[in-house]
């Protein structure tokens, strides 16, 4: 099942992982130029510039870009496979830790209706069906024909050694490639794997602590414009569907 999915999906991201993105070229060229300029200055400041410019260039050259059409991540959670399997199997729980999902509603025991936040805040709808499952071990699901996107997901639960809990492995493939919800996130190389890792950290907090840690809505002093920009570009916070961008910006500037 998963094999089929992989063959169908790899097309969408073809070629992407080999070539360098414009951002990486920009960092490489910009960093290199800064380093050369710094070296020619022959002063303490010049050395500093050369060092930081060189660092930027090296990082840019080293960084691997991930294909945008799949995401995988893994996490160790301090609970039994049964506990986390049960939580996950009730798909209506998923938006509690996957913050790019708005809602998942059950249609029957195997089928569910999903609404996610797409690029630019547009909602994406699809129906999914569980295609394979083994209690406390494995669930895989797939979107039904006529969905906005094709999604295949699998999750595996296995016991960690010495009673340390459960290792949860998740893999999701989708087409067409959605790109990233905002360009700043892309600039920071915060792609789909990053988003999924954040989701799983929230799942861990849900299972272990019973709540997801937050500072949203706490009090604070006057924020400046820069803080507003940083909040707006926060790669962990997608902009919800149907939201007014200007209002969102203002709200995030106010928000801690």
């Amino acid at each position: 099942m998963a094999e089929n999915a992989r063959i169908r999906i790899t097309d969408a991201g073809r070629g992407r992982s080999r070539s360098m993105s414009p951002q990486r070229w920009g960092a490489l060229i910009g960093g290199g130029a800064l380093a050369i300029y710094g070296i020619t200055r022959r002063s303490p400041l010049g050395i500093a510039l050369a060092a930081s410019g060189g660092t930027v260039a090296v990082l840019a050259a080293k960084r691997k870009s991930s294909p945008e059409s799949s995401a995988s991540s893994t996490i160790l959670i301090n609970c039994t496979p049964q506990e986390v399997y049960r939580f996950w199997r009730d798909f209506e729980n998923l938006p509690r830790f996957m913050n790019r999902l708005e809602t998942v509603s059950k249609l029957d025991d195997r089928r569910s209706r999903w609404v996610a936040i797409g690029p630019g805040g547009k909602p994406i709808h699809w129906d999914a069906e569980i295609t394979n499952e083994r209690e406390n071990e494995h669930i895989s699901w797939q979107s039904l024909p006529d969905s906005d996107i094709q999604v295949d997901g699998t999750v595996d639960f296995r016991s960690a050694p010495a009673g340390r809990g459960t290792i949860v492995d998740v893999h999701i493939e989708y087409s067409p490639s959605l790109g990233s919800a905002n360009t700043f996130a892309k600039f920071l190389n915060k792609g789909a794997n990053f988003a999924m890792r954040q989701d799983l950290r929230r799942l861990e907090a849900m299972m272990e602590a019973g709540e997801v840690p937050t500072i949203e809505g706490q009090s604070h002093g006057p924020r400046d414009f820069i803080t507003g920009v940083m909040r707006f570009a926060d790669p962990t916070q997608p902009i919800p569907a149907r939201s007014n961008l200007k209002e969102t910006f203002a709200a995030r500037r106010r928000m801690a």
Partner: protein, 399 residues
Amino acid sequence: MKAVCYMGVEKMSVETVPDPTILNPRDAIVKISSTCICGSDLHLYDGFVPTMEQGDIMGHEFMGEVVEVGAGLKPDKLKVGDRVVVPFTIACGNCFFCKKQLWSLCNNSNPNYWMAEEMMGYSPSGLFGYTHMMGGYAGGQAQYARVPFADVGPIKVPEGISDEKAVFLSDIFPTGYFGAVMADIEPGDTVAVWGCGPVAQFSIRSCFMLGAERVIAIDRFDYRLRMAQAGGAETINYEEVDDVVQTLKDMTGNIGPDRCIDAVGMEAHDHGLMYMMDRAKQMARIEMDRPVVLRQAIQACRKGGTVSVPGVYAGFIDKVPMGAFMNKGLTMRAGQTHMMRYMKPLLDKIEKGEFDPSFVISHRVPIDRAPEMYKIFRDKKENCTKVVLDPWADGARAA
């Protein structure tokens, strides 16, 4: 409510902000009766720890009365009316790390763990009022504070113990003690302690509690050295000696101190070329911390000894003598304090009258004077060692 807000480098300001509210089921709201400025707050004041934002509420050493509890808190753990000291580290109590008593490494209390993961690989626990990388939680230099996972951290304080004796259980007393614990002191040991600030003062006294024979304290301010002497330490004023390492050798029969404690951290002072270079690199942000003390401690420590680092470092350091560290077979231990291990036993010591932490206090002022106290504390003016703020005192400038 009133709150001390970070408004930029060397700019603190007392602002009127909305009162905190319960955001998660295991939250509590504490009405603060006493709160302090910590030496580590000065690293933020000086702008050397990344991810502070304008408007952040400062402070992580506070105590007070519980005035509201979330739906997830059981009354046998915490209820309205309890008088509590709140530890500066936030811990969930249920993750791998909390179960191992490594409370300051809690996996679930930092909402911005991804920022810390970028810099450190993994994220330590969330902290109050100490950068967004460490959670971005609003701090306790305010009239009220929201305390997450309030059934794990806060410890109840009996009415008979004054705020001045209890409030340092929030950070510096356990942190000083932890510095001594990490040093693995054996009976008869000589311990060198760099710095004579409040954490160091508690470390000095804790070393003796844990069986040290001699403690040698190193600083440059006479009033702080005198306080160390009052705690039983011998002292070195590093501005009056050529070479701290040689002086320590001379004082220990050329074997060196068995244990070295760095209670200074990232903004250490010294003289000489290496120090000037560190200072310049830190200003240019190409070296985040000045590891002056760390270098001396590794160099001075006797072979097979232990270097304990309760002092705060934020990022990357240059020219650490790894060769000395490896070939001398040293052990280094570091970390934010695992508060929940030590708060209860140290509270018991205070309760029995065996120890009174209030000796470090030099200033008691209304919260309105906090911004100027940051500067006085940073510049070591007015013989300042520890500032306790009263959030409810009338803001009389004359106080």
